[in-house]
C-alpha cells in the first residue's frame, strides 16, 4: 500500500503531507527533513527510486519526481510497483495542471485543501482507486459545484445559525 504522499519544496518546506499510516504530528517534521536530505543529495540524472527502510520502516521504498521547485514523493511498500508509482505521480501532476491551468508552487500552497481532495479521489486508505486524470477532474469539479450550491447560507454568522439549530 501507499504509506505517504508528500510534496516538499526545494527549500525544504512541506507543501502537502498525507500519511496513510498514522504518524504523530510531532514526527512529521523529522520525516520531511530526512526525506528532503535524502532527495536533495541525489543528482538529477539518477533513478527516481530510493529505499527508505531507515526512515519509514523495513521494506519501504520511495518514488519521487523533482519538478521545478517541488519534490513529489510517494512512499509505499513492496506491494506496489515502482514504475507504476512514478506514473501515479504523473497522474497527480497532470491533474493538478488541469485543475490550476499551469500549476505553480503558489497554487499548491494556497489550495492544499484542493490537493487533498484530488488525492482522496486517487488514493483511499493507501490503495489506488482512480488513475484517470479526467475522471478525477470530473469528481473534483462535481464536488466544487455542489459545495458552491450548498454554501449559500454561509454568510450568516455562526451564532445565528446555532441559535436556530438549537
Amino acid at each position: 500500500m501507499i504509506q505517504a504522499v508528500m510534496v516538499i519544496s526545494t527549500q525544504a518546506k512541506p507543501r502537502l503531507l498525507k500519511f496513510y499510516n498514522f504518524q504523530p504530528p510531532e514526527k512529521h517534521q523529522d520525516l520531511v527533513r530526512s526525506v528532503f536530505q535524502l532527495l536533495s543529495a541525489r543528482p538529477d540524472s539518477v533513478s527516481n527510486f530510493v529505499k527508505v527502510d531507515s526512515i519509514f520502516g523495513p521494506g519501504t521504498k520511495l518514488v519521487y519526481k523533482h519538478l521545478a521547485t517541488l519534490y513529489f514523493v510517494f512512499v509505499f511498500d513492496s506491494s506496489e510497483n515502482e514504475l507504476a508509482m512514478l506514473d501515479l505521480i504523473q497522474v497527480f501532476v497532470e491533474t493538478l495542471d488541469k485543475c490550476f491551468k499551469n500549476v505553480c508552487e503558489l497554487d499548491i500552497v494556497f489550495n492544499f485543501n484542493k490537493l487533498h481532495t484530488i488525492l482522496d479521489e486517487m488514493i483511499l486508505g493507501g490503495q489506488v482507486i482512480e488513475t484517470s486524470s479526467e475522471q478525477i477532474m470530473k469528481s473534483v469539479e462535481e464536488i466544487e459545484r455542489l459545495e458552491k450550491q450548498s454554501s449559500t447560507t454561509s454568510f450568516i454568522p455562526k451564532s445565528i445559525t446555532e441559535r436556530f439549530t438549537r
Partner: protein, 969 residues
Amino acid sequence: MEQLRTIGRELAMGSQGGWGQSKEFLDLVKSIGEVRSKAEEDRIIARELEHLKRRLADPDVPRRKMKELLLRLVYAEMLGHDASFGHIHAVKMTHDESLPLKRTGYLAVALFLDERHDLVILVVNTIQKDLRSDNYLVVCAALTAACRLIGEEAIPAVLPQVVELLAHPKEAVRKKAVMALHRFYQRSPSSVSHLVSNFRKRLCDNDPGVMGATLCPLYDLILEEPNSYKDLVVSFVNILKQVVERRLPTSYDYHQIPAPFIQIKLLKILAVLGSGDKQASGHMYTVLGDIFRKGDTASNIGNAILYECICCISSIFPNPKMLEAAAETTSKFLKSDSHNLKYMGIDALGRLIKINPDIAEEHQLAVIDCLEDPDDTLKRKTFELLYKMTKSTNVEVIVDRMIEYMINITDHHYKTEIASRCVELAEQFAPSNQWFIQTMNKVFEHAGDLVNIRVAHNLMRLIAEGFGEEDEGADSQLRSSAVDSYLRIVGEPKLPSSFLQIICWVLGEYGTADGKYSASYIIGKLCDVAEAHLTDDTVKAYAISAILKIFAFEIALGRKIDLLPECQTLVDELSASHSTDLQQRAYELQALLGLDKNAVESVMPADASCEDIEVDRNLSFLNSYVQQALENGASPYIPESERSGVISVGSYRSQEQQETSAHTLRFEAYEMPKPSLPLATSQTSMSTPTTDLVPVTEPGYYKEDHQTSKSQPPGDAVSGEFGVKLCLDGVQKKWGRPTYSSSTPSSLASSQQTTNGASHSDGGGSSSQPRESSYGSKRQQGTEVSAEKQRLAASLFGSAAAKADRKAQASRKTAKDSPSTEKVATTNVTAQPVKEQVIPAAPPPDLLDLGDEPVSSNPPSADPFSQLEGLLGPASAAPVLSGTPATSTSKAPDLMSIFSDDVPTGVASGSTDPTLGDVNSTSSHKGATAVASKKGPSLQDALQKDATARQVGVTPTGNNPNLFKDILG
C-alpha cells in the same frame, strides 16, 4: 460592518489572485516565504496561532470564514506547529450541514487525529449519520474519513452502513465502500471475515473502476491464503484478457495503454495464485504471452506492466517459452539508458536467476556497469542482486566489492545491513579460513560496532583453532602475523570496540608466543589500549585479562617479571572500579603474580584456549569427601524434589546446603563479588586436589574459577580464561556510533587487492600496468575498460562458473559445515564452557591455497593480516604486496601504486574511489545542464503567475515559472 468589509475583501481577492483565499492567508504565506530564519518563522506562526485561537472561539465569525480559519490551522500544523487546540473545532465542523464546511471538517479531522485519539468517538457518530446521507458527496467524505479514523472497536458501529453502500447506485461510492471494507479488514481481519464474499461479488461489478478497486482487498486476502481463491484464477485471467484486448471503455486508457493499474494488480494476484501450481499457471501462459507481444517499451507505464509480467512469470510454475520472453525483456531494461529501467532490470534479473542462474551470464557487463554507476539506488540494488547470486566461486569478488562499498557509506542503517551481509556470505561460502579471517578483519575495522558480537567470537576461535590440526606450523605462522599486524594498528584512534576486543584477546593469547616481542612491550601496548578506552569496560576487561595471560606465560617460563608503572596504575585503578567484573580481573591478576611457577602453569597453560574441559557433572571426585563427612556424622543430602516443606524458598536453601557441604567458594560463582578471591586463590593453591572445589554445573554459570582449573589436569583447565572471555557477552554490549579508521586510501587499496585476488590470475602482469593507469579516466578509453570489466565479469559470473560450481558444490558442503558448528559452539561456550570440541571442517582442497603446501613457500599469501598492514600507509604495505606471489594477481601492486601516487601520505580519509567520484560529479553536472537547457520558453500567463508568486514571496520558480510544462508538454 466589519463582516461586510471582510466579504468585500474576499470578493476582491477572489477576482485578483484567483486562489480563493483571503488576504490574511495570503499575507501569512507571504511573510513565511520571506523569513530568513527558523526563529522568525516560529514567531510568525505563533502569532497566527494566537489569532486563530481567538477567532475560532469567537461565535460571531461567519461560517464560511470558519472554513478558512481551519485551513490555516491545518497549514500551521503542516509546518510543524502544535495546533491541538483547534482539533475540537475540526470535530465540530464535521457536524455542520453545509457541505464545504463538513468536508473541510473531515479533512482536518483526518489529518489531525488517528483512531486512538479521544475525540474520534465524537466523529464516529457523525460518520454513522453521514453514511446514510442522500448526498453522495457527503457519503464519500464520510467513507474517506472512515478509512482514516475507524479503529477496531468502532468498526461494528459503521459496518452495516458500509456494507449497504456496496450496492449504492453511484460507482464512486461503491468503490470507496469497497476500500473502506478493505481498510477494516487490515485493521481487524476478524471483524469483517464474514463479509469476504462481498469482495468476490464486487469483482463482477458493472463498473470496471469498482472491479479494479476490489482487486486491492482480494490481493491481500489471496496473499493470506492463496488456496481458497484458486477458483478465481480463470476469472482473473479472463478479466486480464479483456483488459489487454481493449474491451474496456477508452476512458480507462492511460497513455494509450488499457487500464494499466488494473493489469498490474491482476498480474500481482496471478503471481501469487500461480506460485507452485502447475495447473493454475497453465491458464496464464497465453495471456502473459499476449502482454509481452503487445508490450509497449516506449512508455513508463508500459514498462511497469512488462516488469510486473516478469515478476509473475518468475513466480508461477516455470515455462521455458515465457522465461525466454521475460529474459528478453529484462535485457531490454538493462540495456536502456534510463536508470529507472536499469533498476527494474536488475530487480527482474534477481527474480529470474532464482529459476535459471545462467540468465545472469549474458548480462554480466550490464550488471557491472550498474555496480559502478554513480546512482546509489542502482548500486544498492545491484549489490542485492550479487548477494542473491553469490556462490563459492565468486564469493571473494563479491564480498570484497561489498566491503569496498561499505567503507564509504555513511548511512548507519544500510551500513549495518551490508556489513551483516558480508559476514553472512563469508560464513556461508568462505573458501578458506584464512580468507574468512581476512575478510572479517576488514569488516571489523570499518563496521565493527555494527555487526553482531558473535562474529567477533567466531573470529577469535578461528585464530585459536587454526586451519588444520595436523599443520601446527601454519597455525603459529598465522598467529604471529596476526600479532604483528594487530600490534601495528592497535594504536590507531577510533577502532571499533569489538575489533579491539579481538586484538586484545589475540595479543594476550599469542603476543609472546613466538618470542619476537617482549612481554613488557605487549603489556605496554595493552595498557595503552585500556587507557585509551576509558569508557569501554568490555575493552578494558579484555585488556586486563590479556595482561594477566602474558604474566602467566612469563612466570610459567620461569622469567622474572616486573610490573610496569603504567600497568600498576591500571591494576590499581581497575581494582577500585565500579564494575565488579573489572575488579575481579584486577584482583585475579594480583593474586596470580604471587603464585609460583607450577601453580601458574596449571592455572593458565599456554595456548590452550581451544582445549576441552571435562566437567564431571556428578561431582564424583567429591565422593570420598562426602563419604568422609557422612562418617563424621553429617546428614545426607536430600534432593530438592524429595524434600517437604521448603518449596517456597527451595532453590535458595538448597544452594546454601550445597555450599556448606562443598566449599565456601561456591558462593562466588553466582555473583562474582570480589574481595575474597585472592585469599581464596592462595588458599586453594595449598589444598589438595581431592578436597578442592566444585566444578560448575549450572548452565547459566559461565564464569569459571581459576581454582577449578587448578584442581584438574592442565590440559583441561583452559576454559578458565576462555570462559572469562565470553562472559563479557552478558556484561556489556556497546552498539555505539560506528567509528572506523581514517586510513581509507590504503585500506581501499588492500581491499582492491583482494578483489582481484585468487579468482582471476589470468590478467598478466604486462597488461595490468597501462590498464591501471587508465583506471581514473576509463570513460575515454573504452577498450581498456571493457577489458577490466570483462575480467571482473569473469570472476563474478565466470563462463567456467557452471563447471567450477559443480565441483565446488561438493566442497561447499564442508565449507558450510564449519561456520554452523562454530555458531553452535559459540552459544555453547556462553552457556557451558564444557563441550567445546569444534573441529573446523577441512576446507575444500581445490580452493585452499595454503594447508597442503609447505608454509615457507608462500608466506605472504598465507598471511591474512598483511591486509591490516596496509593501514599504516602505502610505504609499509608495499613490501608485503610486492612479495605477493602465485595466488594473488599481479594487479594488486599496480593498484597499490596508483593509490600511493594519488594519496602518497595515506591521509585523504573517507575519500571515495577516485574513479567513481569523478564520474559522479561529471555526470551530475551534465545532468544539471541538460535539465536547465530543457526548460522551454514560458507562456505569458505563467509569467504573470510567477510575478505574483515573487511578489507574495513564495519560492520563486526560477527561469521556468511554467512549472510542469517541460514534463507535460
